[in-house]
Every structure is written in structure tokens, then in C-alpha cells.
Subunit: 221 residues, 2 copies
DNA sequence: TTTGTTATTTTAACAATGCTAAGATAGCTT
DNA sequence: AAGCTATCTTAGCATTGTTAAAATAACAAA
């Protein structure tokens, strides 16, 4: 679907549900902006993601986005939200497709790192917004099927005592930190020999996770 | 020590050893620039760290830095290098002051996260440069007493088999990822209740590390 | 329909940034 | 003293985020 208005030409992605009644002049521009940002992000990486470039990609003037997002940051937040939705979904699938309970948590971890590997720019945006604030990324702790809650629930399924809240929170945080740490490291090419030695990248991820007990020593706390 | 040349006034940090024979006009400008960058970083955070601001802080013209660093990135690399030196030193101290072998690795981990907590902007710079390249941050794997090597050596001291190189690399990577992940998360205020419940921030760090065995299940590999 | 209100978009402008090319300056070498 | 070269400044360019003001188009009421 292609609109032409004044001298700007731009495309509008097909409307989803009735997400929001179609606004005034040009269809759903805020969604078009988010899509344009995602397109730019995949094509050129995070450094190319300027507000003006997004507007250009969407076919509107440099100031147009400011009527839909107060800030460049607010647009990036919207992009990040989509990323979190995708990640939550990927974790859900990994969780369902794991054979036995014992492997479920490792499967979650591998799925997490694979997501970061497959969408590196998006993953960056998902965290960059939160680094300045002192809040966790959106939807990480709040939603029912948020990534965080999925990890916590999986821990309970695997035998963690849901009554010991502190221990459960610590374990969930530990899993989260481990996955995030590996996600940020995994692309370093210093790991290439290890990956080939182990046969695949996923095997490398799994191998790292298998060693995650190191900090605990051998005793059980 | 204060120089005044043309209309720019700037300070030069006291010379260290004979790091490099004192250059031409204004003393050791490249060091002065790095110091200025560090000062700005601590005072205003990473977003305020523009090359022009650094030049301003150092009392030179906006183009002066380009005779000492080919890029903004190259200056940031130099700043990051100092950060890695500091971190390596902090890890070394933590390693020496740990009572028994068993606690050494946890002490290293806590020291790592404390460094990131105490120098958040510097820590950001230390990794930001490496995210674009696909290389690990400078000096992480190369130097003798690099942070990476210290972790690996500590693992060997704690009983890891130095002959099984793959397992040792995996374990070192696991420890590194865990520490980095926690370092990036630790500032989120969602953890405040946990920190107070456990008495201190360090206790929280230790608590997370103690749960790091989760990915391994209970069996030993 | 006409009129008015309001939401959306454009144009134009500002300050700031990274960086480069040209000239000035000062130290070193001969 | 003359020349060379490294260092620094001045000016300038393209780009960025953001704002203010003007234009445009949808809608609601008369």
C-alpha cells in the first residue's frame, strides 16, 4: 500500500486488528515509524538509527515523528517493546518444546542467547534504553508471560521452592544475568575456536551454561 | 601545573615516569585529554562525553585531539584501557585478600561487580568500544595478569583440571558472563528490596553467584 | 454547505556534534 | 640562521536532535 502526499512517498504496513482507530492524514504513522526503525536497524545497525533517518525511511519530514513520540528515546522504547514481545514468544516456544523438566531451563537460556545472536541490533536497543534509567527494561518483570516470569516459573517446575521467595528471586536473577552476559559476549570472535571444537554455536552456549555452578563451589550453600 | 597558551588555559596532570618523552608545545596533551575525558565521564556521564567537550575541558581547540587520536573512538579506547588496568588491579587485590581458595572465585566476582558499580560510566566505555567490533575488549585475554587470565588461574587453583582446556575455557567464560551480566543489572532499582533483605549490596551479589549452578542441574556435567 | 476547531504534517531554524582542510606557530635539526 | 615537521587554531561542512511557526486536512456543528 503506497501513499503519495505532497512530495513525500511512503509505505504503510498493513493494519493490525483495531490497534488504534486509523488516525488522520496518512494512516498509521506511528506504526510506520516503528517499522521503518526496525528496517533500518536490521539493515544498517544501531549507529545508523537516527530520528531523521527513520523519518526519511518512512517518507515523512524530520519533524513529523514528534507528534507521535515526544523523543527519539520514546520511539526506541516502542521498538524495544516489540523486541521484548518477540523474545517472550521465543522463550515460550523453547519452554514448550523442551523434552524433560531438567532441560527446560537450559533450553530457555539457549533460546535467549540465540535471540540476541539473531537480532543483535534489536537486542542492543532493548537494553540501551534501560541503562540510563535505573529501571529494568519494559515488560521484563511485569507481564504474566514476561521473560522474567517464565524463567522463574520454569525454576519452580524444576524443583525450586516457591515459598523461599528470596532464594527464588536470586536464582531467577542469576539465570537472567548469565544469559544476558553470554548474549553480550557470544559474538566475540575469540570464541570461534571453542565453537568449532564443540561442533556448533548452541553447543557452546550449552557448554557455558553447564559450567555456571562455578560460583557456588561444590556445596549447596 | 598550569599552562597558558594563546587564549586557552588548561592543566596538565603530573608526568608519570618517562611514559613518553614530553612532546612539543603543551606538555603531554594526549594524557591531558584522557584525564579530561575521565573527569567528564565521572561528572556528567557517558552521554556528555563528546570530543568537543573533552577538548573544551582540556582547554584546547576542538580539532586539537585529532593530532593525538585518529578518532573519537580511539580516545575512548585509551580511556577504556585505563579502566581495564584499574579493574585488573582490583581483581588482583581481591584475589590476594581472599582467605581460602574456595572463596577466591566469588571474591573475584564480587570485586568485578563492585568495580562496575563504583565506576558505571567507565565500565560502559570499557565495553561500548568492543560491541561494534567483534573483538573482546583490549587486554582482556592477552596480558598475563589480565582479568580473564586471573579468573582462569583462580579456577585452576580451585581445582579445575588445567589439562582439559575446553572445559577450562568454558568455565572461565561462564564466570565472566555471570559477572558481566550481574554488573549490567545490579543498578536496577527493582533489586532494592532484595538488597535490603540480604543486608548489603555485596551480599546480594554473593547471593546471585551462589545460585549460578542452576543451569547445570544437580549432576556434574 | 460553510465555518470553526483540532490533529497532523511541513518548513525553517538553532545549537551541538564529528571531522577535515587550510593556515599559523613553535620546537628541533642542520 | 634556515628549513622541516609536529602541533595547534581557525573555518567550514554535513549531520543530528529538537523546537516554533506556518500550512494542511480531517472532523463537528451551524
Amino acid at each position: 500500500m503506497i501513499f503519495t502526499a505532497s512530495r513525500y512517498t511512503f509505505t504503510v504496513s498493513p493494519m493490525r486488528e483495531s490497534a488504534a482507530a486509523r488516525p488522520y492524514h496518512h494512516g498509521d504513522l506511528s506504526r510506520a515509524l516503528i517499522d521503518a526503525a526496525r528496517r533500518l536497524l536490521e539493515a544498517e545497525g544501531p549507529s545508523a538509527l537516527s530520528l531523521r533517518a527513520v523519518a526519511r525511511e518512512a517518507g515523512v519530514s524530520p519533524a513529523a515523528p514528534y507528534h507521535h513520540f515526544k523523543d527519539k528515546g520514546e520511539l526506541l522504547e516502542a521498538v524495544a517493546d516489540q523486541g521484548w514481545d518477540m523474545l517472550n514468544q521465543a522463550l515460550g516456544e523453547a519452554r514448550r518444546s523442551a523434552d524433560n523438566v531438567r532441560d527446560k531451563l537450559a533450553a530457555l537460556g539457549v533460546a535467549y542467547v540465540c535471540f540476541a545472536r539473531d537480532h543483535p541490533s534489536l537486542y542492543r536497543v532493548m537494553y540501551d534504553g534501560s541503562r540510563d534509567k535505573e529501571d529494568m527494561p519494559a515488560h521484563v518483570k511485569l507481564d504474566h508471560d514476561s521473560a522474567y516470569c517464565q524463567v522463574r516459573d520454569t525454576l519452580v517446575e524444576a524443583g525450586a521452592d516457591p515459598a523461599d521467595e528470596i532464594s527464588l528471586e536470586l536464582a531467577t536473577t542469576a539465570a537472567w544475568c548469565a544469559a544476558h552476559g553470554l548474549a553480550e559476549m557470544a559474538a566475540f570472535k575469540q570464541f570461534d575456536p571453542l565453537k568449532t571444537a564443540l561442533g556448533s554455536e548452541e553447543a557452546f552456549f550449552r557448554g557455558v551454561f553447564e559450567h555456571m555452578k562455578i560460583f557456588a563451589g561444590d556445596s549447596d550453600s
